[in-house]
């Protein structure tokens, strides 16, 4: 999708968007569904005494059903939040504190989103113990490693459904079954999964699931937490106030945001399979275009992944310089230079990738409006710029001369 800049604004150059894992444009149908709730139909859904409130409440409950329908849940199991980050906070802190008399140990994975990892760090500060599991080189966790990490005082396991950087899909049914067996609460961050993989919580043994809107073509700033009723999972609220959402999350519900997320999820349920078929074809095209470049590496399991994601490392070329060269494309990189902290991607490091390969990575994520022409353009410009940057690269020169780079003593500063 080539976004058009409004004529009256001075805007920077808008390239082809291939960063769908960072965020999605709203589907136009979603925007249409939201607007009325910003104009005449502005009521507070908690206003029980007049029509503005009643109609807003009805819209919220309709959206709740739409969200529940996509994931095979009961609408009463959906708690609205400001996004998956808040959902992760509520799930982890809420469950840890509620069940702390049962135990103080949590298990998660090194490749989780910061919203999970930083929340775990905070819980450690509060006196809990957390085990951060390693992953295999393909990004998947080893079930034996998980089993071995479980202790008698483990109360929660958190494993994301689909990884945001490398797109791999964890074995959620197996992890859930193990947790059920041991009486441990299982939370999964599904921010990158909704609308991309089938989720049926009627059969999937997950107790808490974080959901977002803006990775499924809805607006930013709204999400939800699935909280299982059977068997019941309890949480300590993190936002206190009017007791909204059965006391689990206080705060006036933003009808327009919720209507948007509901419509987005309704569209996903109706169109997901057809869309994924189309995206799989595009993914193949892009992968085939790039896989024969010399010294290129695919990050993450080749099959157990969502087709929207392609994360590759181009050895001896640094990610930020590559992004600078492919001006017509909007993608992201695991390179330190592109992160505010100057550290390379911790997810790629957890796969066992060397720092160089983490610095040399490009994450390309496609979606609803990606076209074949855009894929072809992307492949061409990436190949051209990789070649150009290798001409500039002393590491490529040494590699071509047969030098073993792992034997060099670098004079680092």
């Amino acid at each position: 999708m080539i976004l058009k800049e409004p004529a009256h604004m001075e805007t920077p150059h808008f390239p082809i968007y291939m960063d769908y894992s960072a965020t999605n444009p709203c589907d136009p149908r979603v925007v249409d569904a939201m607007i009325p709730w910003l104009r005449e139909h502005f009521g507070n859904p908690a206003s029980r005494s007049h029509a503005w409130g009643w109609e807003a409440e009805a819209a919220v409950e309709k959206a709740r059903e739409q969200v529940a329908a996509l994931i095979g849940a009961d609408p009463r199991e959906i708690v609205w939040t400001s996004g998956a980050t808040e959902s992760n906070n509520l799930a982890l802190k809420g469950a840890a504190h509620f069940y702390k008399s049962k135990g103080k140990h949590l298990i998660t994975v090194k490749t989780e989103h910061k919203a999970v990892l930083d929340t775990c760090r905070e819980l450690e500060r509060q006196g809990f113990e957390v085990t951060y599991l390693d992953v295999q080189p393909d990004g998947l966790i080893d079930m034996e490693v998980l089993k071995a990490a479980i202790r008698p005082d483990t109360i929660l396991v958190s494993v994301m459904f689909v990884n945001n950087e490398i797109g791999v899909i964890q074995d959620i049914p197996a992890i859930g079954a193990l947790c059920r067996e041991k009486g441990i609460i299982f939370h999964s961050d599904a921010a990158q999964a909704t609308g991309r993989v089938d989720i049926d919580l009627a059969t999937l043994p997950v107790d808490l699931m974080s959901l977002t809107s803006h990775k499924t073509y809805g607006p930013k700033g709204i999400g939800a937490l699935y909280v299982r009723r059977k068997p019941r999972v309890r949480l300590e609220a993190q936002m206190h106030g009017g007791g909204h959402e059965r006391g689990m999350r206080s705060g006036t519900l933003p009808t327009h945001q919720i209507a948007g997320m509901g419509e987005a999820y309704r569209i996903a349920k109706a169109e997901m399979h057809e869309e994924n078929r189309r995206i799989r074809v595009l993914h193949e095209r892009m992968l085939n275009g790039l896989k024969d470049v010399e010294e290129v590496f695919l990050n993450g399991h080749a099959e157990k992944r969502v087709p929207h994601n392609l994360n590759m490392s181009f050895n001896f070329v640094e990610g930020e310089s590559l992004i600078m060269g492919i001006k017509g494309l909007a993608v992201s990189s695991g390179s330190a230079c592109t992160s505010a902290s100057l550290e390379p991607s911790y997810v790629l490091r957890a796969l066992g990738r060397s720092d160089e390969l983490a610095h040399s990575s490009l994450r390309m994520t496609i979606g609803r409006w990606t076209t074949e022409e855009e894929i072809d353009y992307a492949v061409a410009t990436i190949k051209e710029n990789v070649a150009k940057l290798r001409e500039l690269s002393p590491l490529w020169e040494m590699f071509k001369d047969g030098v073993d780079l792992s034997t060099i003593q670098w004079a680092a500063h």
Binding site: G319, E356, S393, L395, W410
Partner: protein, 134 residues
């Protein structure tokens, strides 16, 4: 992030990319940085053995746009300078010329280190040569 025009220019049209012939006695080579940090610069200077003036320079860099620009700029600046003049080029001058933001200052520091490394390499080779003949 938005790059300064000069950084973009050096990236699009890098000056003096490449390597001198291996075994050329009039060349000093400096290689600084590390792949683990995401920055490696190789800078080469060709020195006139009689006048001690740098006549030509080449670079190759693995790194971001600012790193490439810093090293490309440096190959322009060292030409026509003596070894000592080149070694006194300050990273702050590089950063100012390229309008580098604070988060990219370390690229200019690496470029300054690269010059010094190339100069030292040349000096070492020629001290040894002199020592061998004396």
């Amino acid at each position: 992030m938005a790059y300064s025009e000069k950084v973009v220019d050096h990236y699009e049209n890098p000056r003096n990319v490449g390597s001198f012939e291996k075994g050329d006695e009039s060349v000093g080579t400096g290689m600084v940085g590390a792949p683990a940090c995401g920055d490696v610069m190789k800078l080469q200077i060709k020195v006139n053995p009689v006048t001690g003036v740098i006549e030509d320079a080449r670079f190759k860099t693995y790194g971001c746009g600012s790193a490439i620009a810093s090293s490309s700029l440096v190959t322009e600046w060292v030409k026509g300078k003596t070894l000592d003049e080149a070694a006194s080029i300050k990273n702050s001058a590089i950063a100012e010329e390229l309008a580098l933001p604070p988060v990219k200052i370390h690229c200019s520091i690496l470029a300054e280190d690269a010059i010094k490394a190339a100069v030292n390499d040349y000096k070492q080779k020629h001290v040894l040569a002199e020592a061998a003949t004396s």
